[in-house]
Symmetry: C2
Subunit: 325 residues, 2 copies
């Protein structure tokens, strides 16, 4: 998981390693001088992030292997659902640096971040729902963030270290698809804090399921607990004849079978409803807008399971494999 | 577009710049010694890539801002469509390093790459359809490639420099979503070759359209010509009542309006057909399997437009803004 420069030799111990610049593989590496002279030891910001996030009770990552399976829609509505309990404070952090959809889906397009003495102030949807996204730092919604990994990692570190969430109950972190910089950095930066776990999203077809299996392997490699799997876009109810159709056929058994095979909790299925997409484009919560959708009740059941998981996890710190002490 | 290390000062000229280590901003930067002592000038591999790809007539990039809009399905079927003309040789390069779907969609799962004296041999679907993907280098389809940017870039460079395509007419390059390492590196490495242009994929809803606008800005910044926009998953024909429904409502006018606004060619709409997803999971071409699907004819029309564009572009090199001489 260490930083390996592009021009490093095969056996590079990583620039963050104590061996950096000293290992036998470092002989002749163009970075050797740099590595052997830079300050050693763990990144001091990891301790700063730990300090900053002590005021956050539960941290949930939303992951998927494949793009377009509904991570941001899920994240936004998980946050809406958690914040429905007005006694709870909820935060959403969008670490999808190159494709931030959260501002639009939460109806916050055009909002800006403010700086205060205690850090960056998030943008509020309601009194108890705060949001941070790179989208708030752009001059327009069409601006492209053409950044390589290190700049994306720097932004994620700033988000984790500098955003002043205050005392909050849940922080839901939305990620881009894949298993690269954003995922490695986020889990690394959070390595000294208590992370409840990850919710993995998929759609039913094998091409998506296969990418979730990669994501499960990622979670296991970085010791990130898995809360469970959600299968999104499981079926489509035709508004004309009200019969349900399959859009992405689960040729290999879909999310439920995959979860059983991998010995992971299956949290539930969410059917497709075109009214959900419309709510997302308009920045509204479909819990309020389309109360009669089969997706609404299914989603609420999933949120209850996640709340249950978090409350149990807080009590039982022994299973806390995500936390590196 | 230059490489900026994470710990560099604001005004870093980039490690690839002639100013690296010498600019006033470099004073006090921890990388200054490294930058000022490393060999200057352009990456010699860019010339090697140019040399390697002289045997490739047309190069087409498939891009999208958002994930899950169907890039890999589109890429695979564009390749199938181009290879339907047996006199043409077609190649597919999958630069989605962390989520390679191409091997599955083209029915090549479990295949391995072979090394020969002239480079890496691609894997063949048919005599005139060759494929390269990081998926062929993994020990299993569930293996996660947990790589940061520099390692991904190194792999893309190897693909472009070392794969022995032979004389081919079309090389279709499938990318991951976003505007980050894979996109910057691919366009940079191809900067001395003739790239015909990019096909941008979207789905109708604003959340996806917004990400395509970012991708258009990316193409303009890196001088990559845009062949046109394809709107995927435009509607769904209910197999029960045969009436068409909208799955992702085009609340802001969809791909067609966006293309008109941005003064870009609109190549067409592809309706959703669950049989397409099934073909992808099974590694089959839906041109052969579901000849009666409305998507099949719409797709063939789009392929004709892309062929037309490529043939005209080859003749008229004056508009070749993608090529840096």
């Amino acid at each position: 998981m260490a930083d390996i420069p592009q021009d490093a030799p095969e056996q590079c111990p990583g620039t963050g390693s104590g061996e950096a610049g000293k290992a036998s593989a470092c002989q002749g590496c163009p970075n050797q001088t740099l590595c052997s002279t830079k300050p050693q030891g763990p990144d001091p910001d990891i301790a700063n992030i730990k300090e900053r996030l002590t005021s956050v009770k539960h941290k949930i990552l939303v992951l998927s292997g494949k793009g377009g399976v509904g991570k941001s829609t899920f994240t936004a509505h998980l946050a809406h659902g958690l914040a429905a309990d007005e006694s709870k404070q909820v935060g959403v952090l969008d670490v999808d640096i190159c494709g931030p959809s959260i501002p639009r889906i939460l109806g916050l397009e055009g909002e800006q971040v403010h700086q205060s003495a205690s850090g960056w102030s998030p943008v509020y949807v309601t009194d108890n729902l705060a949001v941070m996204s790179v989208g708030f730092l752009l001059s327009g919604p069409d601006d492209a963030v053409i950044w390589r990994g290190p700049k994306k990692n720097g932004m994620i570190k700033q988000f984790l270290r500098d955003v002043d969430w205050g005392d909050i109950d849940y922080l839901v972190i939305d990620t881009p698809p894949g298993t690269s910089d954003e995922h490695i950095s986020t889990t690394q930066y959070l390595s000294q804090t208590h992370v409840d776990g990850a919710v993995l999203l998929t759609t039913p077809q094998e091409v998506a399921i296969q990418d979730v299996r990669k994501e499960i392997n990622f979670c296991r490699k970085v010791n990130l607990p898995i809360i469970g799997v959600v299968e999104n876009m499981s079926g489509f109810v035709c508004p004309h004849c009200t019969k349900e159709s399959v859009i992405f056929p689960p040729t290999t058994g879909g999310g439920e079978k995959m979860a059983a095979d991998a010995n992971i909790t299956f949290l539930g299925k969410l059917p497709l409803d075109p009214r959900i997409g419309k709510c997302c484009d308009e920045g509204k919560s479909f819990f309020d807008e389309v109360k009669d959708s089969p997706a609404t009740q299914a989603f609420k059941d999933i949120i209850e399971k996640i709340k249950d998981y978090c409350s149990k996890r807080k009590e039982n710190t022994e299973v806390d494999t995500g936390e590196q002490k």
